[in-house]
């Protein structure tokens, strides 16, 4: 026989519980002011050919978010920054897909992606939807566009190409062989260097080696480089006048590991760019690292201006303690980017259009005092406007050493240490 009394008591109990819970919630809400959460999505290459950079960026972005939230709490601000990190796998379609997915949930503030190819893929969608995205390492001149949604905390390669060409020239090189990754970034730099080096009086070998950006092994490319160097030697060019420019990301390590099998490739100087400076993949590679030292592999990296109370050491020490390695220059940009976007959100709310308008000013003001990557001034295209480049060399002790600075204004190199 059914007993309706039990059911009634049960319903009453549930009702009381719900009532009690809602009262408690209301009391709590009355006690504490509501804290709004504002989401910032980081599109980092946690896997793929920029994964070391991605790992560094993840650590510095997390650190910056913690610092921002501590500052917001100290100041009694009614909102907190919520950082969401996504892996783009250094793959342009993946980067765009992640951006679309987060935009679908209402997010309009992004940091990253890292590579120019990824930024290019996202640009049209971001422009159409007024999404503010700030890249730490995209340097392709093709993306230097005024009034778009992309801001870049690094200078573009129109500045870097002459730096590489001049460094090679100063090293005594008169014949340059170029090998580069076939993407927006690599193509732009290759074109720039191919134009800049002949202006100094040098010659660029007519057969350049453009490789698939997804490539992870390079026996054929190394074999061709060996053939080309030998071809120049046969033509009577001294080895000291032959140089190789490798425009690569972290695939520099397997590339050099393959090149190490050809003795003549150790005898000519190699040059790299910001994609290879501070590469932990190269530094920790048991074959490619020593090869880079032997081949006097010098890479360019933009030289940040000084900030009054720079957080450079703070960020550097933090990454060292977490990952047990020295971080790269772009990760300092990431730290500054998180702060600058947070300050914009604090000033104009979660409105990406208004934030775009004030970002150059906020960036200038904050980084002038605190910038981990130095003082950042954005030009009319929203890109970093500095023009000097540091020259980094992976020494035989396995440490990255700064050996000179290329001055953009005078197109000269100030050597700190002579290796040629």
């Amino acid at each position: 026989m059914r007993r309706p009394g039990v059911a009634v008591i049960a319903v009453l109990l549930v009702g009381l519980l719900v009532l009690g819970a809602s009262c408690a919630q209301r009391q709590q809400a009355e006690k504490k002011p509501t804290v709004e959460t504002r989401t910032l999505v980081a599109l980092f290459p946690l896997t793929g050919v920029l994964s070391t950079f991605g790992e560094n960026a993840k650590v510095t972005a997390t650190l910056a978010t913690k610092d921002v939230n501590e500052w917001l709490e100290r100041e009694g601000k009614p909102w907190r920054l919520d950082l969401k990190i996504e892996d783009t796998a250094t793959d342009p379609p993946t980067a765009l897909q992640k951006m679309k997915t987060w935009f679908g949930t209402g997010v309009k503030f992004f940091i990253g992606p890292y590579a120019s190819g990824e930024c290019k893929e996202c640009l049209t969608f971001a422009n159409a939807n007024k999404i503010l995205f700030v890249a730490s390492s995209s340097t392709s001149p093709a993306l230097s566009i005024p009034n778009d949604s992309l801001f870049r905390f690094c200078p573009d390669d129109l500045v870097q190409s002459p730096a590489v060409a001049r460094t090679a020239w100063e090293a005594g090189v008169r014949h340059l062989i170029i090998s580069w990754r076939g993407d927006t970034w690599g193509d732009g730099l290759q074109k720039g260097i191919s134009e800049a080096f002949p202006k100094l009086g040098g010659k660029v070998y007519p057969k350049g080696i453009r490789y698939d950006p997804g490539l992870e092994d390079f026996p054929k490319e190394a074999a061709l480089l060996n053939d080309y160097v030998n071809d120049l030697v046969r033509q009577g060019v001294p080895k000291s006048q032959i140089g190789i420019v490798l425009i690569a990301f972290e695939e520099v390590a397997p590339y050099m590991a393959a090149a190490a099998k050809y003795p003549v490739l150790k005898e000519v100087p190699w040059f790299g760019t910001d994609g290879t400076a501070h590469s932990a993949a190269l530094q920790k590679h048991s074959v490619a690292g020593p090869f880079a030292a032997k081949a006097r592999f010098v890479s360019t990296m933009f030289a940040p201006g000084a900030a009054e109370k720079s957080r450079f050491d703070y960020v550097k020490d933090h990454v060292q303690s977490v990952l047990n390695r020295e971080t790269d220059a772009y990760s300092y940009n990431v730290y500054d980017m998180v702060w600058c976007l947070a300050l914009c959100m604090d000033e104009v709310g979660y409105d990406s259009e208004k934030a775009m308008a004030i970002l150059p000013r906020v960036t200038d003001q904050w980084t002038k005092v605190n910038g981990a990557s130095g003082h950042v001034v954005l030009n009319e295209a929203g890109d970093r406007a500095f023009a000097d480049y540091e020259l980094w060399y992976l020494s035989e002790s396995g440490e990255w050493e700064k050996i000179g600075i290329w001055r953009g204004q005078t197109d000269t190199v100030d050597w700190i240490k002579k290796i040629y």
């Binding site: 076939g182 397997p254 590679h285």
Partner: protein, 312 residues
């Protein structure tokens, strides 16, 4: 030996093993195993972990790679393939189920890489295993050892199929499962054995592969098209054809691309992936049954006849 040829031989041996594994699984269980990609990558990570954490030559850990791949194969068969086969699932369903399994394995690889990075401060996402290689006669051992090992493994496998009772029942089940079942052969055991061997070959192939190319979490995924190309070139229904197909595709990717780039210019490198696939397509156009369809017995006689015809 030219460095590119040395790498090419190692890579071709790796593809022979993996393509053989794909063919074996297809002819036994009608399953195109997409999880071969991550099984191969796991094989590399087993060898890498052993080498960097416990020392010694990578070759010491290759048997472990094989065993781990077998384990992954058993999990795939028991957890996915067998239930689907019992429900008479279509080939496409069987194939897609292995794709899902591959994604799970790939996630596991990424987690494992994070573990190695943060616990042991290693650099597991870009590894050159050849730097741990031994030397024989003043050159790297892998271009000599690995092709020979691949041949040895395949010979043992051939003897197993031809001379042992289980091997013969395996062949019978492959050729006619219905008749084999009526004759009292346990097809479930045969399928399980196929996954043990196929999974093991995939992982061992991955360990081999890492001696020729950079080991990354997506190494298997990047080379999967070539593994399939090898299996298809071999004719899909012949285990030995698959193995030979894998070897030829591997050599074509290194040798043909290098020579074409030398002759035609470095732009050819951009078509690195297309060239072996093009060779596969041409072979299939001429011999629709693949390498297994070639008249191997009468081939020397026919070639000699053709040569005589050319001379006269």
């Amino acid at each position: 030996m030219a460095p590119w040829l040395a790498s090419g031989l190692v890579y071709a041996s790796a593809l022979a093993l993996t393509a053989g594994g794909i063919t074996l699984l297809y002819i036994t269980t009608r399953t195109f195993n997409f999880a071969h990609a991550s099984m191969a990558t796991w094989g590399f990570y087993v060898a890498y972990t052993g080498t960097v954490l416990y020392g010694g030559s990578p070759y010491r850990y290759f048997p472990l790679s094989f065993l781990f791949g077998s384990l992954l194969g058993v999990v795939c068969y028991v957890g996915l393939n067998r239930p689907l086969l019992r429900r008479r699932a279509a080939e496409i369903t069987l194939m897609m189920s292995t794709l899902g399994y591959d994604l799970v394995l790939l996630s596991g690889i990424q987690i494992y890489c994070d573990y190695l990075t943060h616990t042991f401060r290693l650099f597991p996402r870009r590894v050159t295993m050849s730097s741990y290689d031994a030397e024989i006669f003043g050159m790297s051992a892998s271009p000599l050892i690995l092709p020979l090992t691949a041949i040895l493994i395949l010979t043992v496998f051939h003897l197993f199929l031809a001379k042992t009772k289980f091997g013969i029942s395996m062949r019978a089940t492959i050729e006619n499962p219905l008749l084999a079942g009526v004759s009292g052969m346990n097809s479930d055991k045969v399928y399980l054995a196929a996954w043990v061997v196929g999974g093991g070959m995939a992982s061992l192939g991955g360990a081999f592969m890492s001696m020729a190319m950079t080991g990354t979490p997506v190494m298997g995924m990047m080379t999967l098209p070539f593994m399939f190309a090898g299996a298809i070139l071999g004719g899909l229904y012949s285990l030995y054809g698959g193995i030979l197909g894998g070897f030829l595709v591997g050599l074509a990717e290194y040798g043909a691309v290098y020579y074409l780039a030398m002759l035609g210019g470095p732009w050819v490198l951009g078509y690195r992936m297309a060239i072996p696939l093009l060779i596969m397509a041409i072979v299939l156009l001429v011999f629709p049954s693949g390498l297994a369809g070639l008249p191997w017995g009468s081939l020397p006689r026919k070639l000699a006849g053709a040569m005589r015809g050319v001379k006269s």
